[in-house]
């Protein structure tokens, strides 16, 4: 799924997307993506086509965005080295480094 497709450019109620928007870039697992200033990390990730945000501790199952209001903790990721950040309510900042979280994110899945 391409980025163009996932951003809503035209909308009958909200109108067209603003042309002059400030874009910044963040890094997700080493890959640089564009993000709209002020949006949460989760929406930037979804717009770039990635929907798997973390893997669970016990069964290593994928999880993605579920409630988008900071309640369900399915969207936890490692942001700038800090684990368990709720990406659905954390706004993006330029140069932010986001990583897919494995388990509780302490060693990010690697056995110590």
């Amino acid at each position: 799924m391409g980025e163009k497709l996932l951003r809503v450019e035209k909308h009958p109620v909200l109108g067209d997307a603003k042309q002059k928007e400030s874009w910044i870039s963040i890094t997700i697992d080493g890959r640089k993506i564009k993000a709209r200033e002020g949006e949460p990390i989760a929406s930037a990730l979804i717009a770039s086509g990635s929907r798997v945000f973390r893997y669970t501790l016990k069964k290593d199952k994928p999880r993605g965005l579920f409630c988008a209001i900071g309640r369900c903790n399915d969207c936890l990721m490692i942001v700038d080295g800090k684990a368990n950040v709720r990406t659905c309510i954390t706004p993006v900042r330029d140069g932010m480094i986001v990583e897919t979280q494995k388990g509780d994110g302490k060693s990010n899945g690697k056995k110590c």
């Binding site: 809503v8 909200l14 929907r51 993605g64 409630c67 988008a68 900071g70």
Partner: protein, 383 residues
């Protein structure tokens, strides 16, 4: 770090903002907290026109109402704490707030208004945790607030008002809605919304439920099946749909954890959304300094939440002698009249009965509930 305030409002949605407006107008020292970077709550994503009472916000879009409320609040002397999550509300009345970069702040307030709203319900089916399965509110947030579509081909589960409205908004945003399924044998949403959907040609399948989601890492499809009157899947009726997103619109539950940890009495009222703190017609709980408004004390509409917020704001102002009895009474009666109008009709009547029942139990628990200070008083009298 510690802080004091006259009033703390937890949650900046329609209910919290309306309470803040009332309190700001009487110059109270008031703090409004919200865990998002912007206040407005769920109104920010409601791009449809409100339906219902003509007097009250009908014909307006939620986003516009949010903007108006925000403007009014910004003109008043109200401190707004964005990106602040209340972690705990202890039994001595202290709020533990995680205030973004400033860390944990313990806030002592004379009065607290809880306006935390609701959580989306979910229900289990095979592979129900796969990325790509999300709540209707989540989809709404993504497409209407941030203008990002989490999927192209969507299966909507639930044909209540939320299901129908969000399905329509998905079409507006450019996604494809494959079907709307509903396990009951009739569509429970309003007829206006149902007709809107039917005009677009999206099928609404009643007596149908989801059996499983397909895919390893993300949703790649869904299996639906017809169900009998007791919601058991009928063998042999399974159908596979090629979808990349499954949207769950299966109701809401009040977010009561803060009221519960403070020690408010929680009772079960299925008509109002499940377990909720008891409260009276002034929105006061059985603990005198704690008020509760909006979806966290009964799952209803935003217009109801705004009136409840107004009533709580006025009652708080009255209890702190910022408003005299007569003015407060008059103002409250206006809001209560609107509430009564909003709760007309057969469904509204049942809500009203439930609310009256709650009001009675509030009086009961206020007198008979274990209350630390009253307990001390009893002891000292006895000694």
């Amino acid at each position: 770090m510690g802080r004091n305030a006259e009033v703390a409002i937890i949650g900046g949605g329609p209910a919290g903002l309306s309470a803040a407006v009332e309190l700001g107008e009487v110059q109270s020292n008031c703090i409004l907290m919200d865990d998002h970077s912007q206040v407005g709550g769920q109104l920010n994503k409601q791009i449809h026109k409100f339906f219902g009472s003509e007097k009250h916000s009908a014909g307006q879009r939620g986003i516009d109402i949010a903007k108006k409320l925000e403007e009014r609040v910004s003109l008043l002397n109200i401190e707004i704490w964005p990106e602040s999550t209340v972690l705990d509300f202890d039994n001595e009345g202290c709020l533990w707030v995680n205030k973004g970069d400033s860390g944990i702040v313990d806030l002592m307030a004379d009065r607290v208004i809880i306006a935390t709203g609701a959580n989306e319900n979910t229900f289990p089916f095979q592979n129900w945790t796969l990325p790509g399965i999300m709540g209707a509110g989540a989809l709404q947030t993504m497409m209407n607030l941030y203008r990002v579509l989490p999927g192209r081909r969507v299966l909507m589960v639930g044909a209540g008002n939320v299901g129908l409205i969000v399905a329509y908004q998905l079409l507006q945003a450019g996604a494809e809605v494959i079907a709307i399924i509903e396990s009951a044998n009739k569509i429970s949403g309003y007829d206006v919304h149902r007709r809107k959907i039917l005009r677009t040609g999206v099928p609404i399948l009643t007596s149908t439920s989801i059996v499983s989601a397909l895919g390893e890492k993300e949703v790649e499809g869904a299996v639906i099946s017809s169900v009998d009157d007791e919601f058991r899947p009928l063998p042999g009726t399974e159908r596979q749909l090629a979808v990349d997103t499954i949207c769950l619109a299966v109701g809401l539950s009040p977010l009561i954890d803060l009221a519960w940890s403070r020690g408010c009495k929680i009772v079960n009222e299925p008509l109002l959304g499940g377990w909720i703190p008891v409260h009276d017609a002034d929105q006061q709980t059985n603990i005198d300094s704690v008020y509760i408004v909006g979806d966290c004390c009964s799952i209803e509409e935003a217009s109801v939440a705004m009136e409840e917020g107004r009533i709580a704001g006025i009652s708080v102002a009255e209890s702190m002698n910022l408003l005299d009895y007569k003015t407060a009474m008059e103002k409250k009666n206006v809001a209560k009249k609107v509430l009564h109008e909003l709760r007309s009709g057969p469904l509204g009547a049942t809500v009203r009965t439930a609310k009256e029942r709650l009001s009675k139990s509030t009086t009961f628990y206020r007198q008979n509930f274990f209350h630390p200070t009253r307990y001390e008083k009893c002891l000292s009298n006895w000694r």
